[in-house]
């Protein structure tokens, strides 16, 4: 079981039982959320440690992550529209695989709803972190770099945190995928979204 998921469920239950407000909880934990940004900076260390191991596959990694990210955006936007969901959901689906700070910036430029955007980023992250590895394993994908790249592309930082429990190499691949997918999406989504 994922310890982060356990903590989320426990705190949710405590707030509910105690009759507290989620808004109050969020306000009093702002300091913790603030720490996410310096943590992003620290991912550079994991990248640096694994650069030698991943350097030779640079082309394969960049191509794989771009393709995965594009599939997520295009399938997300098209399927959500096809099912007839309102526009804020379509926008939130398009940025859900991107790390929270980038998703929020994109949400601003697409005219989306910030908190819904974050909710989808987290749904995507938690889902990939909890079921991503078992799913890949069932398909026979056990290679740490392949798994790490797939999880980082779909589940950004939450997936990277999960990959870190497996191995440093998987964490590096996930962190690299997260960074690449976040940056690439930030560049093309504002143009692609208008077109879709």
């Amino acid at each position: 079981m994922n310890p982060v998921l356990i903590a989320i469920v426990l705190i949710g239950v405590v707030i509910w039982v105690a009759g507290g407000k989620v808004e109050d909880y969020l306000k009093s934990t702002e300091a913790l959320v603030f720490m996410l940004s310096p943590t992003v900076i620290c991912l550079a260390l994991i990248l640096y440690e694994q650069t030698a191991a991943l350097k030779r596959q640079a082309f394969a990694i960049i191509t794989a992550v771009s393709c995965g990210g594009l599939v997520n955006v295009i399938a997300g936007v098209c399927l959500t529209r096809w099912l007839g969901l309102p526009e804020p959901f379509v926008q939130a689906m398009s940025t859900k695989a991107v790390t929270t700070p980038i998703a929020l910036e994109l949400s601003k430029s697409l005219g989306g709803e910030a908190s819904l955007t974050v909710a989808f980023v987290l749904l995507s992250g938690i889902m990939g972190a909890v079921w991503g590895l078992p799913f890949l394993r069932r398909l026979g994908i056990t290679d740490p770099v392949t798994s790490g790249l797939a999880i980082g592309t779909v589940s950004h930082g939450i997936g990277t945190a999960r990959a870190q429990q497996e191995s440093d190499l998987m964490a590096a691949a996930a962190a690299l995928a997260m960074a690449l997918n976040g940056m690439l999406t930030a560049f093309y989504l504002p143009y692609l979204y208008v077109w879709l």
């Binding site: 808004e23 990248l47 995965g68 589940s155």
Partner: protein
Amino acid sequence: MDILRGLTIIFLFWAMGETTTQLARLPIPGAVLGMLGLWVALQFKWVSYASVQLSAKGFLGLMGVFFVPPSLGILLHAERLLHYGWKLALLVVITSVLSGLTTALVYKLLNR
């Protein structure tokens, strides 16, 4: 002392990243640029690995904790999310599976 020096370096790269995105009006968040900056600096040995190691590992080890509060923000949208419940669950699962598999397969193909 080591931790303090590491923290200073980390926050310095964060500040540089934020300043760059603000001045150049880039859509990329400052923290991501800062990460790239620190990575480049480590590669070229402008910053030594040992000087940031302790503090950076501290942040990374606690990363899961930092994600807990925003995750509970989902509760604020519980009603809307449940209204479209199975459709949303299906959408998130299908697109994530497609995306993850695309990344894994393309990588496997190119890396053969």
